[in-house]
Symmetry: C2
Subunit: 472 residues, 2 copies
């Protein structure tokens, strides 16, 4: 495909995406495909000779699109937002066009330096502590996901707790990790990957609002110490996936400092709220953390993947993950004057992900980003009010930001039947969780183009489904 | 950015990339930026209000481009190819436009099913064993990088060797991993991440062509068994990064089977050669492997990241990495009739990466891909001939595919001076390695648009630099 053909087909793809944005509300939000249905439409064998681009675009419409669950629909309220925006998409396109490797500074200095710079910007935007700034002993890096960030934090914690003996000789004693029983599943995954073992993870009790009980954490640490075990890692969550709970980071941080345990703050979902001064309570105590992450690919209009991960002590992280084979050596690396991001995460190669974050921040400006975040929180508050005003429904836990957890008073089966009915309708998509062993519906508001009319329509559909279920 | 604005700016970005492709040969291949130079041009603080897209495009030219090392230049011969192509870039654009999550089948059935399907296609294209096909007990998944693939393979091997005790209780005995002393640095990184410890990695001796000595491997295994240690993982490399060496996979596989050790084949660099029947020797013995990976993002015109990772026993991999919190449960997952790829890798979220691989295969057709791979191998052969014919230079190890390792007979300092001179010139970019403690230049041919004239110009520049160095 020569540059002229790229120009032509590139415009067709841009138009296809713009058309997709324009018609997205007409498509069923959750795909109606049955297992195997998409594959059955694809040729069994790869083509021996090249096909026309038009054929590909046709198959995109006819085969792929019916198998898409539309995460960018304003009627998508499931799981968590993974929102995107025009500037983010174009940033990703530029990154793919340049197609550079960011593993070392030398392999594209702009890729490394823009990343460092934009991550420093994020500290200003979210009023995060100075200890995470690149000019301090700490710094930030873009990871693919919060799962990877948690794993990297745990690995650095493991080495700090064992003075890098694990790194050389393997894990030779029980190391203990802590998170609330509402912590993300990636904490357990990280504990297993790092070789601690799932039984070394303490799932600490939560309070009535599903936030970690700090005194229960301290008791667990004391019990482990008495048993001769080595506490090494605590995760505090700012906005749990299940219900949006915010752990008491300050109280947890004071405990972490007292016992010299690495504290990681997982603000993947809710850290973005700190763009707005009125929501900066989410970061209370974060200056006590050894590491922190927030995902612009959730709620900051930057398409997946873009997790901003910070550490207060970059030397420990880099020592934990550093490799330097001869074929990667170069003058800049040897000078010590540059950052080589390959030593800040699991993979070696890396994309130029800072471009899309840079484009998003510049397109919206900080005030523009705040505007959208505020609107989402306001819409969640409206929805909460409607649920509270309806005698058939109840809100399960106070709505702090943009996630509403609620249920039908008719019980689990009724709530589940309502969910399946609205999801099958294609008009919206929402998902569930379990809290105190009750089936709970979750309405997460955070899509870039969700407006009041979409939230109103969702509530109408939910109530209509409840009436239908009651009538069956 | 509404759909109309996206249409307008999207075209501008497409044009910018097409222009970039057209002028790429005029740009110095390795960036001439000094440490800190890019950052110094960026505003200290993020913008409070939104900026125009034109301002962003201007900064792209004036600030970012001088900090780019042009991996897509036909004069890029450094490290390894990370080639791309028009259809790949447009596939990435489509993926960013749809912006779906592929963590579960339900979160976008097409994302999962196209991935499974295209990975089955790759088996046909590379004549890989049936045990990796989705209809067998095995299957494939797209990982970001071979580093992550190696880690996932090691984790599954660790659990198979310890009957999942490590997963629950942590690593409670010394587990041993093996690779040649030319194996990729990611093997050591994986061994450290998984909690085995770097001292548990045996770097096995190589033969005169830098391929693993299988008898040395067997001796090492015997010695470890005698010492009461548990061998659990072997990596064989098809195309080492340093010199393109191909380990004797069949002999290694027979040893792996005899001792019941997990064999992972890392064909990240050279597996693509198997598109051509005449190069299928690279896969001799791969049917003895428990896992395998190849990177279309290296040599198959698919922009980073796209690593195809296969296992023969998916149940072990999935059990090793599986998490299923309540908020991810759904009817399709509960039915057991679908693949949920989140359990096949480290992160939870995942992009729709199969799209770009699908577009590349359809655009080129298998025969078109073969054509380019053959041309690269042919050009490497030509270059090898020129080096051999020049009394001042020598080829260090036989050229099997597309990497030429050579040096100036004047010694290490001369070779290094030549490299720095040509790289500083901006006319091409090549890097080095060390083999038998000699400084060796590496010319890797694999950029999508590299033609004979670029390789000729590279050789002219190298010889001219040698003359200049000799005259100093």
């Amino acid at each position: 495909m020569d540059p002229d053909a790229f120009r032509r087909y590139g415009r067709e793809v841009v138009d296809w995406i713009a058309d997709y944005f324009e018609r997205i509300e007409t498509l069923p939000v959750r795909s109606r495909a049955q297992p195997g249905e998409i594959r059955a439409k694809l040729p069994l064998k790869p083509p021996e000779t090249g096909e026309s681009f038009d054929a590909v675009l046709r198959d995109l419409d006819e085969i792929i699109l019916p198998g898409i669950t539309h995460w960018q629909s304003p009627n998508f309220f499931a799981y968590w937002p993974a929102n995107s925006s025009g500037p983010a998409v174009l940033g990703e396109l530029l990154s793919a066009g340049l197609a550079v490797q960011g593993m070392s500074w030398q392999t594209s200095p702009a890729c490394t330096e823009l990343e460092t710079h934009v991550l420093d910007w994020m500290l200003d935007m979210l009023e995060l502590p100075e200890r995470f700034r690149s000019s301090s002993a700490g710094g930030g890096v873009i990871q693919d996901t919060a799962s990877s960030a948690t794993l990297c934090a745990l690995l650095a914690a493991r080495e700090r707790a064992t003075d890098f003996v694990t790194d050389r000789e393997g894990c030779n004693r029980p190391l203990i990790a802590y998170g609330s029983n509402q912590a993300h599943s990636s904490v357990e995954k990280a504990v297993r990957i790092a070789g601690l073992g799932s039984e070394r993870l303490r799932l600490v009790d939560v309070d009535g609002q599903y936030a970690m009980d700090a005194s229960a954490l301290e008791s667990a640490i004391e019990a482990d110490l008495s048993a001769g075990l080595t506490p090494c890692f605590i995760t505090a969550t700012v906005g749990t996936t299940s219900s949006g709970a915010i752990d008491p980071v300050r109280a947890i941080g004071e405990i972490a400092q007292r016992y010299n345990i690495w504290l990681h703050v997982d603000a993947a979902m809710s850290g973005t709220a700190a763009l707005c001064p009125e929501f900066r309570f989410v970061h209370d105590g974060v200056e006590l953390a050894d590491s922190y992450c927030v995902n612009p690919h959730k709620w900051m209009f930057t398409n997946f993947d873009c997790d901003c991960f910070y550490v207060a002590d970059r030397a420990t992280l880099v020592r934990t993950l550093s490799v330097l084979p001869e074929y990667l050596r170069n003058r800049a690396t040897d000078s010590g004057a540059v950052i080589d991001y390959r030593d800040w995460h699991i993979p070696l190669g890396r994309r130029f992900r800072a471009l899309k974050l840079w484009l998003v921040i510049r397109h919206y400006g900080v005030e523009g980003l705040r505007h959208h975040v505020r609107r989402h929180v306001e819409l969640a508050g409206l929805f909460q009010g409607w649920v509270e005003a309806d005698p058939d429904f109840e809100v399960i836990t106070p709505v702090t930001l943009n996630l509403v957890c609620f249920r039908h008073r008719g019980g689990d089966a009724t709530s589940q039947a309502i969910m399946e009915r609205v999801n099958d309708s294609g008009r919206l998509f929402l998902t569930h969780t379990r809290l105190d062993d009750r089936f709970v519906l979750r309405l997460a508001i955070g899509q870039t183009h969700t407006e009041q009319r979409h939230v109103e329509a969702a509530w109408d559909a939910i109530r209509a489904a409840a009436a239908d279920v009651a009538g069956e």
